[in-house]
Amino acid sequence: MAGRTGAWALEARAIVAITRKDLRILTRYPLEVFNQIGQPIYQFVIPSLLLGATFAVGGRAVGLEETAGTGDVAGFLILGMLVAYLVGAAFWGIGYSFKREMDQATLEPAWLTPVARETLVLGRGLSALVLSAIGIVLMLAIAVALFGVRLSPAIVLAVPAFLLAALAVLGVAFLISSAVLLIKEPVFWVDASDALFAAASGVMFPITVLPGFLKLVSFALPTTYAIDLLRVTGLGARPLLDPVLQYAALAMLAAILLPLGRAVFAWADRRLREQGTVGQH
């Protein structure tokens, strides 16, 4: 039997194999690649930018300056999008992909291998992250080249926030995966919760415009802080809270969500074994 490091290496290899498999299949649907990367741009960024332009006064976003402390509409949206890609990766790239595998009947053979269940989640996470990274780079390039967005170098200060948010969102991905494995028709729920999660995090607007109770929801989401810190450091936007506090909140949420997600996923796996529904579709 392999030692402990050996076992880790085998799981890591499985993660890479899952990612390779996902990306290989994707390349066989070129339009799908185009959509996964481009859809947020044409379905969300451009309509949002044009709505912003409708409110511009002499080329200046005076309203946004008031609500967010920055007049850079494109920069504002694109930094929000960076985090929205993470959320999308968790909900669709990881969570919903289990439903796809179930429909294709390929989940059960994977379930029959000695690989750790969590590895199946992490493998999908990696492939979703690769796609997101391409989207993020593309979006930043468009932002800089087409919309003249100038990000302050201080944005590197928000990179740890982004990574912490990624860990917390991974916890969320475990939760969504559990739900997808147990719910029969998850499409609507995944779609709706992904949209609400992104919106409440302030991807498309400053959360200060939300009614009071929804604002509370926003403050419970790790992504809210990551987006805000990116905008504060990159664009000089007005922070929602003291950045130190935001970092503390992020670290706390990651520390709660990741173990919680893993525990729920383990419970879901057990439920599946009781019901024997992993092969059903």
């Binding site: 085998l10 899952i18 498999k21 066989r28 074994r273």
Partner: protein, 329 residues
């Protein structure tokens, strides 16, 4: 591998949170899929579970494959408890459970196997050699780089078997391995299963084809309504019915009186009216002696025998004798 008092009860319907909180009595309908199964599979044998659809074969198989938790009882695979150490168990078997659809159709056979090799924790240096070896074993080497979507059903089923062989497991679980295959593909698959035994592997398979069980298995457990109703070698099982031959008769008769007359000369295993004819299955020591007497008996009862067929005893007849029903029903 052994199973002791294995039981699985499914509950139909839902129990709401409110019902749980109020601790209302649980009114869900219960369905016993596996009802106290006891079996022991010896190393190197092909062990078959034979029974009609819904008998509990697949549920038993899924418990042994760690996909399903038993409600009670225990099962051990190579001495390891399936409930307590499922991952350890999964390291030790390969399985063909979900049929030929369970592959990535947009990947080639080789790419499919590469993916599953990593999931089976095959070390990188052995992966390539194992893939070549299993492709060769199922005769897919020359088509290994085609997309699976271009495969025939039989080829896909062979690839599923190749996947199960990847980790070179001592034990194979095959759930209805030939279902849906054309006769040639089914024959190929059976030959492969026999080869596996000659390589020293243990095979547990389920089937509802009695010829398959007869031809492949060293021992067969006949399962009905979640229970094992008989367990032995095919030859011994066939010997349990006191007959050498089976005679099937189609008789045009108004009354049933003919049956009692015929039963004086042989055992009536089954009777059924269909298409205006009485269909009888008779177990007899000698058809040569019985058939002329059957004609006499029919004439005496005012009936006419329209058709006679004499066949050797099969596991189908054993099942019929044990349960009063045909396997196909």
């Amino acid at each position: 591998m052994d199973a002791r008092a294995l039981t699985k009860v499914f509950e139909r319907g839902r129990r709401t949170w409110i019902q749980r909180l109020r601790r209302e009595p649980d009114h869900r309908e219960r369905f016993v899929a596996v009802d106290g199964i006891e079996l022991r599979v010896e190393q190197g044998e092909i062990f078959g579970m034979l029974g009609p659809n819904g008998a509990g074969k697949t549920t038993t198989m899924r418990i042994l494959a760690t996909l399903l938790l038993p409600t009670s009882g225990a099962a051990r695979v190579l001495g390891i408890d399936v409930r307590e150490q499922p991952r350890e168990v999964r390291r030790r078997f390969g399985a063909v459970l979900s049929g030929e659809r369970s592959l990535y159709w947009k990947l080639t056979a080789r790419e499919n196997l590469e993916y599953f090799a990593a999931l089976y924790h095959l070390p990188p240096r052995r992966t390539r050699e194992r893939i070549e070896s299993v492709l060769d074993a199922v005769k897919l080497t020359d088509r290994a780089d085609d997309y699976v979507e271009r495969y025939s059903m039989g080829m896909r089923q062979r690839l599923v078997l190749a996947r199960a062989l990847l980790p070179d497991p001592p034990l194979l679980l095959l759930d209805e391995p030939t279902v849906g295959l054309d006769p040639q593909a089914a024959r190929d698959m059976r030959e492969r299963v026999l080869e596996l035994r000659s390589e020293g592997k243990t095979v547990l398979l389920t089937t509802h084809y009695m010829e398959e069980a007869d031809q492949l298995c060293d021992r067969v457990a006949i399962i009905d309504h979640g229970r094992i109703v008989a367990l032995d070698t095919p030859t011994a099982l066939k010997r349990t019915i006191q007959a050498e031959e089976v005679v099937r008769l189609e008789i045009a008769a108004e009354a049933d009186g003919v049956v009692s007359r015929l039963s004086e000369n042989a055992q009536v295993a089954r009777q059924e009216r269909a298409d205006g004819l009485l269909h009888l299955t008779m177990h007899t020591v000698s058809a040569r002696d019985f058939v002329p007497r059957a004609f006499d008996a029919a004439r005496a009862a005012g009936a006419t025998i329209k058709h006679v067929e004499v066949v050797p005893v099969t596991l189908e007849d054993v099942f019929l004798a044990l349960t009063g029903r045909a396997l196909r029903e």
